[in-house]
Symmetry: C2
Subunit: 369 residues, 2 copies
């Protein structure tokens, strides 16, 4: 009996393959992995919303994963918010993994502030400002260690759902996409309703001008591209996929940054793409300022699924703002939501998750005061 | 149909429970976790064989787990050997996990030299010489993070096999056992044929005299005891068990050090002991200079199983020396061997594993020159 795609999962690209994926993992047990990192690029004024002040972006990834482990942050008070006070998407991820009892592991690809949790070290360093053209140190080490890690997780998981937290990540994604010759101008998303495309493009162009690597090499070697104008998160993320997707399905949980990761994976081992899908949120799909499926379609025909989350009628203004284009995605929120629906065979819905999110958000707001 | 205990697994304590464990995990998929750490105690002359020169013990844990990941060491040339040139038990573990395709994860409880692999960080520090009476910094942090980690692994593993690599570990084990009021004098094992009991006891007594903690508190609070005269490995190891054994069986893979870990677990959460067995080697059971089952019997009635490894007729002198009382156990060699037999439903035997060990040893000897 074929499985009917739950209403709460939208299929946005490669419908047949997406349905096959849903049938394959229906009721199975995923492992959620969050890859964290920092890039100095996030501190360029007006480029990122992940942190009220640019310097606070150093704390965002650590705070996000602490929320997943403890239900509250340890390295900061309250939770990460945008300058307008809109809460981190880690709130969504936290609810999704908790209601479905999905195990969480964290990979440190290179953070400035370490989270107060057990995390996996691949000994990357925080990324430099991509305007230097020397964004990531020793990408080969980060990549190879992450491959080994992906291989290990593939032996004990039915499938993986991999998310990320790195402020400034859509700009570094634009960097790698343009370096690799993909038409990405004006296509990457933003955590702010007003997507600063011009600023991002200027930053990337400055980075590409600074690097002394031959443009043809940037196009052909994805780790060289990431090393020049990318970030450490995407290198570790790609390594995990290359290691794991040889053996099990992998959900890339994220927005337009996933296109950059996909391009790296394709450059390193295109065979594993057969086992890969992208899981995101409806807010990314509905975003008029970016185009995830167009980006993906240029790289590989991997399915794109979206969690049909809707916060229009939430009790909380901070959550309602997600419907106005704030935040949209991050910390694997969309993919984790999809995984919790699939693990529960549809018993968990976006509504279940929203109600848990509201409970947690209420508790966290009360802690803050 | 009851499962017959394979001949290659000896049951040495609590036979009925041991058989129940074997039935429960027969054919299931274990995850192997190696907890690594250092203690300055290892550098006390003549106390440890894990490293040709005392300073080399800094490299032993890292080299051991590199061997598991790559089939060769990266941070040193060759493999860790005793002063007489007898190779590390990681050779046994490597063969056991490879022939049975058992996934390997490494937890850094506090090493001086980091391994060139992906490893899990609980942010412990290397242990001080226990003669200071202040052996482990912040044991509560190491313990709690390891509990979280154990909980996560329990969600994705049928059962865990946990091993360790920490030179000097039997002396710190003696420290914690005596601090907790267990009759352990002359009972802990050594990686050397001549077990330096007097030296170990002198070192522990000096540590106990240096600490200004009330002896009754040492007896009652195992993390206080470990903090005074233990090592970071045993704290992380105990945390993993407390986190995981609530949900799944755990094999404590090691020799007499496991008694110290067991005492810590008992002090923190005795309920989980129902789900715990010790897996070691025949060399530990046959050792006249130590008494694992006597130590265990004073703490908890957990089964002790031993891999019936026999290197008497090995082609290599270095391996034959295991029959003369050298090395005996370490890096979870015994427990990993047992797990590979159980996972394969007895298709893998100690003989299969020895033949793989010899192949690897030959290759490694040729690399060295």
């Amino acid at each position: 009996m074929p499985i009917r795609t739950p209403n709460d999962i939208l299929i946005c690209f490669e419908e047949e393959k997406a349905k096959q994926f849903i049938e394959k993992v229906w009721g199975l047990n995923p492992t959620f992995i969050c890859v964290i990192g920092n890039t100095e690029t996030a501190k360029i004024p007006r480029i990122s919303a992940a942190g009220k002040y640019p310097e606070l972006t150093d704390y965002t990834p650590a705070a996000d994963v602490e929320l997943l482990f403890y239900g509250r942050c340890k390295c900061i008070k309250g939770v990460p918010v945008t300058p307008e006070g809109i809460p981190t998407p880690a709130l969504i991820t936290m609810s999704a993994v908790r209601v479905a009892d999905i195990p969480v592991f964290v990979v440190n690809a290179g953070v400035k502030v370490k989270p107060h949790i057990p995390f996996i070290e691949v000994e990357g360093s925080p990324g430099n400002d991509i305007r230097t053209g020397r964004a990531v140190k020793d990408p080969e080490k980060i990549f190879q260690r992450s491959v080994l890690l992906g291989e290990s997780f593939a032996k004990i998981s039915d499938y993986l759902v991999i998310g990320e937290s790195i402020p400034g990540g859509t700009t570094t994604a634009l960097g790698v996409l343009l370096a690799m010759g993909i038409d990405a101008e004006g296509k990457v998303s933003s955590s702010m309703p007003n997507n600063p495309h011009d600023l991002k493009l200027r930053v990337v162009k400055e980075g590409l001008a600074s690097t002394n690597v031959d443009p043809e090499r940037l196009k052909k070697d994805p780790l060289v591209a990431a090393s020049a104008v990318g970030d450490p998160m995407m290198v570790a993320f790609a390594g995990l996929i290359v290691g794991a997707a040889k053996r099990i399905p992998v959900v890339m949980a994220g927005g337009t940054q996933m296109a950059a990761v996909l391009a790296i994976v394709k450059g390193k081992n295109p065979n594993v793409l057969e086992n890969v899908v992208i899981g995101t949120t409806r807010w990314i799909i509905d975003d008029n300022t970016s185009d995830l499926t167009y980006l993906v379609s240029q790289i590989a025909r991997v399915p794109v699924l979206a969690a049909n989350l809707n916060f229009s009628y939430s009790k909380y203004d901070g959550l309602q703002m997600y419907e106005k284009g704030a935040v949209k995605e991050g910390v694997g929120a969309g993919g984790a939501t999809i995984a919790s629906i699939l693990k529960s065979k549809g018993n968990i819905t976006c509504k279940t998750i929203l109600s848990d999110i509201e409970k947690n958000y209420e508790r966290l707001l009360s802690l803050k005061h």
